[in-house]
Amino acid sequence: MRSPLGDLLHDLLDTTADVEARRAVWADADDRLMESTADRVVDLEVAGLGSLAARIEARVAFAREAIRTEPHRLQSDPDADGLTLDLLRDASVLVDATDRRVPSQSAVPVSETPAGAAGNEGFGDGDGEVEVPPLTDNEVAVINTLARFDPLQLASASKIEAEMDAPNRRSPRTIGKAVTRLIELGLAERPRGDRSGARLTTAGRRVARKVAD
């Protein structure tokens, strides 16, 4: 399951081709970042991990400082948010590692939050309304494997093949066909061009979670 901070990162990555859309995501990224980490920080303090909480807060504060000026900077330079994205990634990596090691006492898993109302795309929306399109076994194997990769990472067919469990392993050619189909369905993308690696879109990650259930 991806954290709310991971969702924010993914929303930003999903809109990299559209500066206006990206500016809109950045505009409320500050609130979303706070919302996604505030409870966790308190949680860690209560658990006696104040130093770890402070470390996360420091990274979040660093990212917030950059975020506040992001919509303005993007007006003059469409690639201006690369550094801020990486600072956000810094925070996300630490929060993710914390979530793996320290079970949260208070955080509500994304899948258990109330399903988002129509038009409430993005933060906090659950998987309840996810519509899973008909997928072949190969496509299911590929989408499940792609879901294991970091949201930032682009995976080639050979990387996907290597990541697959042996009994479910498919050939690069089969994987390539499945990725193409997932892209047609809007569940995957090749943000750096047709010959680059692929990753899941936000919709693809939601479908992957649903398929895995």
């Binding site: 990486d86 990596v93 590692a97 090691r101 990472q153 750096r192 010959r195 690696g197």
Partner: protein, 142 residues
């Protein structure tokens, strides 16, 4: 039954991985940052060191749980310094400069990136000497 070989502490695994990556970069020049067969876009320096940031985050959290925030600070700072150079490299901000030691020729941006990776690896190696092996017990169980 032969005695089992002691597992390598995760900090050592990380520093060796960084060291290996810096040596590959040193051997192959900038080719690792150029397009590979499977893609038509070059990987950037931040992308190249990305796996080390992820691995370091796990170590940092573990050390925090074990009450060793000073050691976590050292890892955090070593990796952050390396990342900063990688970001500068990607933004084209590194300029060739003369080396501090007696090496011949200027330090090109790629050399500076390699040096930053070696420095991070060296700092982690120093830190490893200070952390008792017992601290890592159970690390792989989580």
């Amino acid at each position: 039954m032969s005695p089992s070989k002691p597992e390598r502490p995760p900090l050592v695994a990380l520093l060796l991985a960084i060291s290996d990556a810096s040596e590959r970069l040193s051997r192959n020049g900038g080719r690792l940052l150029e397009p590979a067969d499977e893609r038509d876009d070059p990987i950037d320096a931040v992308e190249y060191v990305e796996p080390f940031r992820n691995a370091a985050a796990d170590l940092i959290v573990w050390l925090e749980i074990k009450g060793r925030s000073g050691d976590a600070d050292e890892i955090d700072d070593a990796i952050a310094s390396m990342l900063e150079v990688a970001r500068s490299y990607d933004r084209g901000e590194l300029q060739a400069r003369l080396p501090d030691d007696d090496r011949a020729g200027p330090l090109e941006p790629l050399d500076q990136l390699i040096d930053a990776m070696r420095a991070a690896s060296g700092r982690l190696e120093d830190l490893d000497d200070e952390i008792p092996a017992q601290v890592w017990e159970g690390y792989d169980d989580a």
